[in-house]
Symmetry: C2
């Protein structure tokens, strides 16, 4: 089983690394970071570079496709014909086509979410709707072979959900124990439904200021 | 405020990227990935490379130091005099010295955890004790300016804890909402206390097989 994780300039690192850290532990799989052009890709804030080892052309039929999100970089990826053409093509033969955070906007731009329930970063629901999907405030949304996950950190939950589908719950549970995923956030403000309204508005307002949705 | 995240060959990606994704959103900070030699560093499984932009010598006095863990690579880092000398030196002037997962073994090798409570990946407590620390089965352990976190995924919780200390709870809560950290793992097997004993033994057994502790 081959797992392809898309990289592009301006991605959010945890969107990609969360599912990678889970999925790459699935026995018998090959995980590959791919991009329109191979080489290092800088994250949204410019701080970190993740390296894509293969070009999209070199990975024409992965079993699992993972599309992370980002900030301005997502818009560029949505307008990159190489990315969109590849996504349309690999989606025809994939077993699972997935996204984390605003990665769903890129799937949407490829026409993959037309008329179906999907999720994204909570501040990007309007953009997701404009691309033809039905935004849903759930952490992991599965419709057939398409799985979309909420903002940034949700890719870990999505990865475990996917492993359970692919290899059964015991393997997912072993991986959860392996990465000691026993979350204990010191606060409980991880979703708009749980955070105080003024905090939601503050973080939402930062969306329009040149930094993107998921930036606090 | 300068935050230095150590990279080395064979690190576990999420150990570094979890705290990075939180800490780099702290306003007014510069986050830098550092290594004994600059350039791409391959993760434990060889799948992903993260790029270190600066050498250790170029970052002589960071305010916050983050040391991720890994598998065989941790042992190599523990025996790398450049890493150990740098850690001893930066710890003298740091505001916070931190680790995730088996990164605490590297701190231990630098003599930073002598006689104090600390944590690590759950399967590495014996190694941590052998280095002079008192292993503690808590997710985030703070002793003065030293903060150690449990296995792999715990770096997100550690990052939020640290942001709250540095900039106050509101900023931590805003970042939590920004990365939509509202964890909903599909299972509840993320610690040895919660997982079935046979699963714990299975994952622990994999430790000795050439793959390391946190590999499922």
């Amino acid at each position: 089983m081959q797992i392809a994780i898309l990289l592009f300039e301006g991605l959010t690192a945890l969107d990609a690394v969360g599912p990678y850290e889970v999925l790459s532990r699935l026995p018998g799989t090959e995980t590959i970071f791919v991009a329109a052009e191979a080489g290092p890709k800088r994250t949204d804030n410019g701080v970190l570079a993740l390296v894509a080892d293969k070009t999209l052309d070199e990975v024409p039929s992965p079993d699992v496709v993972v599309v992370p999100g980002g900030m301005e970089g997502v818009q560029v990826a949505m307008e990159d014909e190489r990315v969109i053409t590849w996504l349309k093509k690999v989606h025809e033969t994939s077993t699972w086509t997935t996204s984390v955070c605003t990665g769903s906007l890129i799937l949407g731009a490829a026409g993959i979410l037309d008329g179906i329930k999907a999720t994204s970063h909570w501040a990007a629901y309007d953009r997701l709707r404009a691309l033809g999907a039905e935004p849903t405030a759930e952490r992991v949304v599965r419709v057939g072979k398409i799985v979309t996950a909420a903002g940034v950190s949700s890719g870990i939950d999505m990865g475990l959900t996917l492993v359970a589908e692919i290899a059964g719950p015991e393997v997912a549970q072993a991986i959860q124990l392996g990465i000691e995923y026993d979350p204990q956030p010191p606060f409980d403000t991880g979703s708009p439904a749980k955070a105080p309204p003024e905090l939601v508005e503050l973080v939402r307002a930062l969306t329009g200021s040149g930094r993107a949705a998921q930036q606090a």
